[in-house]
């Protein structure tokens, strides 16, 4: 589904300064995978995620997503791709604070130009699935960390994308709540989605079926198998 060949990402913040965030990345990701991406701070984890989800552009190499050559796509087309194939979950939730839970979850549907009645049905269905149906009229400021992440998950699922990206999803949560969120994500994998989780927590990484290790902008490890 996702193929990266010799992909690199170089930043040039000023004329004389060049920063290579990623170099020579070769990666293949299929349907229904359960992946953890591990690495220290600055290893390029987030950059890799940004490239995969098309919110940043690759400097060199090739990226094929579901048969589409991403580099050849315009910004608008990429927006559509994101809307349809990816669901994002962030450490800091990245919800819009002036909208309530319902409106946050609904947002991707609006950009997919789905009509109001259909939207309503979908939002309620998904909210029930993640267990926040009763909190839909609350603003993020009125929700607990766990509830906010559930809203984020609901938003990520609303367009039924094949790939879920979670960037340190439990980073802002306590252990108990964190476990609940991980459980939900594992559940999604069981339903057939590809779940890619970026984390620096080895215990959480151990729960994934595949672990990709990054260091200094390169992949230094790619192993399968759940460690008990």
């Amino acid at each position: 589904m996702i193929t990266l060949k010799h992909v690199s990402k170089v930043y040039q913040p000023s004329r004389d300064v060049k920063v290579t965030a990623l170099s020579d990345i070769n990666l293949q990701i299929d349907e229904n995978e359960d992946i953890a991406i591990i690495g220290k701070s600055g290893s390029g984890k987030s950059t890799l995620m940004n490239l995969i989800t098309c919110i940043d552009t690759i400097s060199e190499g090739e990226y094929i997503l579901k048969g589409i050559d991403v580099r050849s796509r315009s910004r608008t087309q990429l927006a559509v791709l994101r809307n349809q194939h990816f669901g994002f979950i962030y450490q800091n939730f990245n919800l819009l604070n002036h909208l309530n839970a319902y409106e946050n979850i609904e947002l991707p549907l609006i950009y997919a130009q789905i009509k109001k009645n259909e939207r309503d049905m979908k939002v309620k269905t998904i909210a029930e699935k993640v267990g926040i149906l009763d909190r839909l009229d609350h603003r993020p400021s009125e929700l607990s960390g766990g509830e906010k992440q559930r809203v984020a998950i609901a938003r990520a699922l609303i367009n039924d994308p094949e790939i879920i990206i979670a960037d340190e999803p439990t980073g802002a949560l306590d252990e108990q709540t964190g476990k609940q969120i991980i459980a939900i994500l594992k559940g999604l994998h069981e339903q057939g989605k590809t779940v890619i989780m970026v984390t620096h927590d080895m215990d959480i990484a151990a729960l994934s079926k595949r672990r990709i290790t990054l260091a200094d902008g390169r992949i230094i490890g790619d192993e399968q198998g759940v460690q008990a």
Binding site: Q84, H98, Y111
Partner: protein, 435 residues
């Protein structure tokens, strides 16, 4: 189309959820429109009033005053200057441009006047209002001011001739017969006789002499008239010719003014020449003054107007610039605050045009609503101020108001849209990181 409606709904949510920021943005526009509208309202009102006062001036008359000769050192009266009334009358008959020569000679009696002034000061009466002073004193003994005039005085001072509310004015016949007639003000008529109609044919005592009342004049009811206007209708008018036959009275103050009426404003220069010629046969130059009045200063008037306009426009312009900067400021800050939001929306699939449309609609809605509010506020303020008797009438200049509203809208839209445009082009990953 649905996406437009969705955008409008979204914009409504944004406004409601961040009322303070929305309000602050609108405030700059509202204040800008309000202040510029008010400045022009005051400016127009002021210019109007100045114009009116200049218009009110009698542009077709020349006044002559005469100076008695006094000894420089001792201050003693050397020679009384006697105006050649007959000669002047002859001039008005022969001149093609001078139509009337008449006299206006207000006089008051010394002792009584002094006492009245004192009383007035104590009781707070306007000592400039002859009618007020008349009422204060016992008018019958001549404590009041009267104006001894030529029979055609009311014709020359046109404004007065239209204010007869009972009886009649003097005629040439009255003057020739040196009749002891008086024309009085409506205030005195009401005071002494109950009503203007009742006053006609009754007797009025002035300085111990009785006069028959033949007419009543209405006081000028305009607010705030200038010194060139016959604001105060004298308590009583008597014939100048009659007065002259009286025994000279050391006890009175008087001034004499001869008024020449010309056919048209442009004739005044020529009239001045004609009068000078006649007078030179009777007296020296320093014994008389010719006053042309203000009417010929049309150009000066216009220059003053233009200056007033420029000054006010300058102030208004400055005010608008300041307002505009305020709008710019808040717009830029607003967009800056929302870079992360723009990033999130785009990550979720918003196209650039979604973002642009949202911010464009926001900017337009904000500025237009603020514009309308500003206009309403200005109109309300102007209406209220006009009930407060300020002396000038404020008028809202619709064209200016709309122009300013459009200007503010343009500024708001430009500075709301342009930074949003930039933000939407940002690398989404960077936008998401923006704090």
């Amino acid at each position: 189309m649905t996406i437009f409606l969705e955008t409008v709904k979204m914009v409504g949510k944004v406004f409601r959820s961040n009322k303070l920021r929305t309000f602050l943005t609108m405030l700059g526009i509202i204040v800008g429109i309000f202040s510029v509208t008010m400045i022009f309202a005051v400016s127009d009102g002021t210019k109007d009033k100045i114009s009116k006062e200049f218009m009110e001036m009698d542009k077709t008359s020349i006044t002559l005053t005469f100076n008695d000769k006094y000894d420089q050192s001792s201050g003693q009266l050397q020679e009384k200057t006697t105006p050649p009334y007959e000669a002047l009358q002859k001039l008005s008959r022969s001149s093609k441009i001078i139509t009337n020569v008449t006299v206006s000679s207000p006089r008051t009696w010394k002792e009584a006047q002094e006492k009245l002034m004192q009383d007035a000061l104590e009781s707070g009466i306007d000592s400039n209002d002859p009618n007020a002073m008349y009422q204060q004193g016992n008018g019958d003994e001549g404590a009041s001011q009267v104006n001894a005039v030529g029979y055609d005085f009311f014709g020359v001072r046109e404004k007065l001739s239209t204010k007869v509310i009972a009886g009649r004015l003097f005629t040439k016949f009255d003057e020739q017969n040196q009749a002891y007639f008086a024309v009085i003000s409506d205030q005195i008529a009401a005071e002494k006789f109950g009503s203007p109609k009742a006053a006609v044919n009754r007797t009025l005592m002035i300085n111990n002499i009785s006069y028959k009342i033949i007419g009543v004049l209405q006081r000028n009811s305009d607010q705030g008239t200038g010194p060139w206007d016959e604001q105060y209708v004298y308590p009583a008018y008597i014939l100048h010719s009659t007065q002259q036959n009286q025994v000279s009275d050391e006890n009175r103050y008087f001034s004499e003014e001869y008024i020449l009426k010309v056919k048209a404003t442009k004739d005044r220069d020529q009239a001045k020449q004609e009068v000078t010629e006649v007078l030179s046969n009777y007296m020296q130059k320093d014994q008389y003054n010719i006053n042309m009045g203000f009417g010929d200063n049309q150009e000066a008037t216009n220059n003053i107007m233009d200056l007033v306009t420029m000054v006010f426009a300058g102030i208004a312009g400055l005010s608008l610039i300041v307002g505009g900067i305020g709008i710019m400021n808040i717009m830029l800050v607003s967009v800056n605050e929302r870079i992360k939001e723009i990033g999130i929306r785009q990550a979720l699939g918003a196209r650039r045009w979604h973002i642009l449309m949202q911010f464009l609609v926001e900017a337009i809605a904000l500025t237009l609503i603020a514009g309308v509010l500003g206009m309403i506020l200005a109109q309300v303020a102007v209406s209220w101020l006009n009930t407060q008797h300020l002396g000038i009438v404020l008028a809202v200049n619709i064209k200016i108001m709309i122009a300013v509203t459009l200007f503010c809208t343009a500024v708001g839209v430009l500075f709301g849209y342009y930074p949003a445009n930039k933000a939407s082009k940002l690398n989404i990953a960077d936008a998401l990181r923006y704090e």
